[in-house]
């Protein structure tokens, strides 16, 4: 037996997994070769050293960090969590989280509505002024301001040059007609913002610009994953996926659903971008939402790159099992 061959068998020799003939041949070689015998001894010593290597004590902050993270996670935990310990630490206020959030949402909507109601008359130009703005707009088909003034009166339109309002303060009559109103800013058709409009109100001064639907652009990054969910868990699967991504510090780029008329079995997709460190945790979350077929699930070490360095991206496609 040559030295190279003998040294390749040393680990197996020490594990006693060599067959009898191999063990005898190696033993014979070791008896006659001091160098290989020394290698055998030192290899055994290295293994013994490793076996006796004591664990490094964990820093004290590890436990506190884990407990803090668990508490944060527990706040978002679903009902029926299996951890009694974590559940017991739930704060008293968290019981009122949903009512608080609902009340906050109502207040927000009410305040926006009130603001719109209160602010609309203030920005409306006086009747004598609005005609020119209106005619200016009419000459710019398809370009209007979101805060469009009310429709013009014919006589007022005749008395004012179209497109220019109070540029030099000359239309005194208009100002006198509405002395209590604040001086409006100078508007020209050219200075108005250009916003494509696909839906415009015809019976009020407010115009709602609506962006035309755009097709979902093809992904140049990330990976598709299919999650199969049971029919009883189908509802809200997209939302649970999005919540998981948000909880892990990611963002939700898009949530898609097939037409609702197709019922609970409709397919859906959620596109998320996560910090790379959260990718594995996200896959764990997906397994809680449904079944990820093993042939689809990437290897644990395989993180699909996101749009930026340090990010991972997934398009999670929800299917009915």
């Amino acid at each position: 037996m040559e030295c190279t061959q003998a040294r390749n068998l040393l680990s197996e020799h020490q594990d006693r997994t060599l067959d009898t003939a191999g063990a005898e041949a190696l033993a014979a070689h070791l008896r006659g070769c001091g160098e290989c015998a020394g290698a055998d001894v030192s290899l055994l010593a290295v293994r013994e050293l490793l076996r006796g290597l004591p664990p490094d004590p964990a820093p004290p902050e590890l436990l506190s960090r884990v407990l803090a993270a668990l508490e944060a996670e527990d706040r978002n935990a679903r009902p029926g969590s299996t951890d009694g310990g974590a559940g017991a630490t739930r704060s008293f206020l968290s019981r009122f989280r949903v009512p608080f959030e609902a009340a906050a949402a109502v207040l927000l909507i009410a305040s926006v509505y009130w603001y719109q109601q209160a602010s609309t008359p203030a920005v409306r130009p006086p009747p004598g002024i609005s005609s020119g703005v209106s005619s200016g707009i009419s000459s710019e088909a398809g370009k209007v301001s979101p805060s469009r003034p009310p429709p013009a009166k014919k006589d007022a339109a005749k008395s004012s040059p179209p497109g220019i309002r109070l540029a030099d303060g000359k239309p005194r009559a208009a100002k006198e007609a509405a002395p209590s109103l604040p001086m409006p800013r100078t508007w020209t058709a050219e200075s108005l913002p250009s916003v494509p409009v696909s839906l415009a109100s015809t019976d009020s001064e407010r115009i709602v610009p609506v962006a035309p639907p755009r097709p979902l652009p093809a992904l140049s990054y990330g990976r598709d994953l299919v999650v199969e969910v049971n029919p009883e868990n189908r509802e809200g699967a997209e939302e649970r996926t999005a919540e998981a991504a948000l909880r892990l510090g990611g963002i939700v780029e898009r949530i898609e659903r097939e037409n609702a008329s197709t019922g609970k079995g409709a397919a859906g997709a959620v596109r998320v971008v996560l910090p790379e460190a959260a990718a594995a945790g996200f896959l764990d979350e997906l397994r809680r939402i449904g079944t990820v077929p093993p042939e689809v699930l990437p290897a644990a070490f395989d993180i699909p790159r996101g749009p930026r360095p340090g990010t991972a991206a997934y398009t999670v496609r929800i299917r009915l099992r």
């Binding site: 197996e12 290698a39 290597l53 004590p57 964990a58 884990v66 009694g84 790379e276 070490f301 993180i303």
Partner: protein, 200 residues
């Protein structure tokens, strides 16, 4: 702390896991306390960076918390945790390497280990690894030597020789044949031998 007790004729039952499943308050904290040293040590030796190791160990326990209800007890809880730790650490090493090439290339474990020697023990008897073990720096020396192995071999050495995993367990975790595990482990051990004992 005796964490396991026999469950009749069957496998030992981890009392802490049982407590966690029953919803006993503080049971998961007890699990963390019981296993944090092993998990953190493994992560620190794999990653050679304290903060990275802390983050990885935290991820391991969070993942365990989420999935402990699915833990079947086919292996010891520590084995299960170390499996998670191995995955997390390898993820981090891959990410670290893909993001930047700051780190020096790993020396080939099967050869050229002399280039990676990081200490020069005195000659003669002191060159023997068992003598080195007598020094107070033994732990640091071993950790340093381990850090010179390539990550793909390092985690196998840690799991096999430090944590006592069987070849079959490592093969199942690495999704490679047992023979591949044996040969990679042997090359890594020989590299460790060269790193620790230049004259051997």
């Amino acid at each position: 702390m005796d964490l396991e007790r026999p469950a009749g004729k069957g496998r030992p039952v981890d009392l802490l896991v049982e407590g966690f499943r029953k919803g006993t308050p503080g049971s998961f904290e007890a699990i963390v306390r019981a296993h944090q040293d092993r998990v953190y040590s493994f992560c620190a030796r794999m990653l050679s960076d304290r903060e990275d190791a802390l983050d990885a160990a935290q991820e391991v326990f969070l993942s365990a918390w989420r999935n402990l209800s699915e833990f079947r007890g086919e292996a010891a809880l520590s084995t299960w945790l170390l499996r998670i730790a191995a995955n997390r650490c390898l993820n981090r090493i891959r990410r670290r390497k893909s993001l930047s090439e700051r780190e020096a290339p790993w020396p080939e474990p099967s050869g050229g280990a002399e280039e990676g020697i990081i200490f020069q023990p005195a000659g003669g008897e002191a060159d023997r690894p068992d003598r080195l073990a007598e020094t107070c720096e033994m732990r640091e020396i071993l950790t340093e030597a381990l850090s010179h192995l390539d990550p793909g071999s390092r985690w196998m050495v840690l799991l096999s020789d430090v944590e006592g995993f069987s070849y079959e367990e490592i093969a199942s975790l690495a999704e490679v044949p047992v023979g591949t595990v044996k040969s990679r482990l042997h090359r890594a051990r020989m590299a460790m031998r060269r790193l620790l004992s230049p004259v051997a």
